[in-house]
Amino acid sequence: MTELATRPSATAQKTARPAARPNRRRWRRLTTPVVLVVLWETSSRVGVLPEEKLPPISEVVRAGWRLAEDGTLATHLLDSLARAGAGLAIGVGLALVLGSIAGLLRLGDDLVDPPVQMARMLPHLALVPLLIIWVGIGESLKVTLVALGVFYPMYFNLYAGIRDIDERLVEAARTCGLGAVARIRHVVLPGTLPALFLGLRLATGAAWLSLVVGETVATQSGIGFLMMEAREFSQTNVVLVGLFIYALLGLLSDLILRAVERRTLTWRRGLQAT
């Protein structure tokens, strides 16, 4: 066959592909995880993996089910959620106030932004020893840690979002007779929303991470406590349950935020939205 003759069929194949492909690919991408899970289960069942290092996944599921049934899981989960919620609220609130001041006012920018930029260099999790001295080892430590973790991604995205607003749109709004407050409401705020959503998603991730660390310090409740306690009694399966819960929390919160984002930012999708 000549070059010329093979070419058309090659391009035909290329255009025909996309329709059939995504499904096949999705299944293919599932292969490795499934193989790994099966491998895990069998190797710890036959004793290749020692039970105390990595119990079979069925044991982990069973432990999770037991904890869910007797209400232990719900109690600890609620405590963790309360901490994350309080920390998120404080961190996001503070970031919204300071980010708006720095983003909207030149004076605010000069006064607020430099210290925030400097403080960013400190990894907030490294502040744990100092925070223990300042606020003790109680609830306020966990909430403070979450709030700190949440603050930075929220602040920086809001600040950058406001800065990235197209100045020409602000000008157009001004020629339409909009005053400063109306310009913020109709131009700056909606224009910043995409960055705000991104900040919120990163902040939620940071919240879970901070919570994981915070709950390993002198805690009497929460998913982290559940894991630390299980470790002391060498209940590896419960430790793994805790890990899965953390992962699920991260996944769920991200899914919810994405859904809200899609609904709120309909204008970005143009045609599909109407």
Partner: protein, 238 residues
């Protein structure tokens, strides 16, 4: 049609604008009468946009005296629609009053976009977006329309349509306009008077005494065209 203020809608004397060491506008005197369409020509970087922004109230650092009377509306080279507002909300932006919805619909009808109220700007073509920008200006019932190369970014065919639309709207509403353009033909088709900006000053002020509707092959058009090209420093083609 609303009653127009009699007298001039723009009076400016000695308008100066300096960027660093560069004098961009060096004492501009300008009057635009009620209902008068003035085209502002000039080479790239001659300060046309700068002057228009000063009149639009978007430049705080200019010196001199200028006054704009009556309602003002601006159409920029890019449509500058807010992407997060539907077409109708873009047109009605900042418009007070109880019958905004009806007036918005009327303005959209006038630019040939009746029924597109609920569309997002992202769904419109370049020409359609620019029509919405014109509707956004119209709904304000302007006494003075400032246009900065409003059709410059459009393809040739769409530009011709938009020029015709501008002519119709002007005849209908009788607004005055300052039309910044690169296009000598566009200036001669639409304007009552043309100004040429060079070296920070108005170096030419020529009335266009042709009757509407105009066409480039009208008698007198060619002579005016040559005159303007000459003042713009374009050598005459053989």
């Amino acid at each position: 049609m609303a009653t127009r203020p009699t007298g001039d809608v723009v009076t400016a004397t000695g308008v100066r604008r300096v960027f660093g060491d560069t004098v961009v506008l060096d004492g501009i005197d300008l009057t635009i009468g009620s209902g008068e369409v003035v085209a502002l020509l000039g080479g790239s970087g001659s300060g046309k946009t700068t002057l228009l922004r000063i009149l639009a109230g978007l430049d705080q650092d200019a010196t001199g005296d200028w006054q704009v009377r009556g309602n003002l509306a601006v159409v920029f080279q890019e449509h500058r629609l807010l992407p997060w507002k539907r077409v109708a909300d873009n047109v009605a932006l900042g418009v007070p009053g109880p019958d905004v919805q009806r007036r918005t619909a009327a303005a959209l009808t006038e630019v040939g976009l009746a029924g597109r109220e609920r569309a997002w700007p992202a769904e419109l073509s370049g020409g359609q977006s620019q029509r919405v920008a014109v509707a956004r200006a119209l709904v304000r019932e302007p006494d003075l329309l400032l246009l900065d190369e409003p059709f410059g970014a459009l393809d040739a065919l769409t530009r011709l349509r938009m020029q015709a639309l501008f002519g119709r709207l002007r005849a209908e509403h009788g607004f005055a306009a300052l039309l910044v353009t690169h296009d000598v033909e566009e200036a001669l088709l639409l304007a009552d008077r043309t100004l040429v900006l060079a070296g920070g000053r108005v170096v030419d002020d020529t009335p266009v005494p042709l009757t509407h509707p105009r066409a480039p092959d009208d008698p007198g058009f060619g002579a005016l065209r040559r005159h303007l090209l000459d003042r713009l420093g374009v050598p005459a083609a053989a």
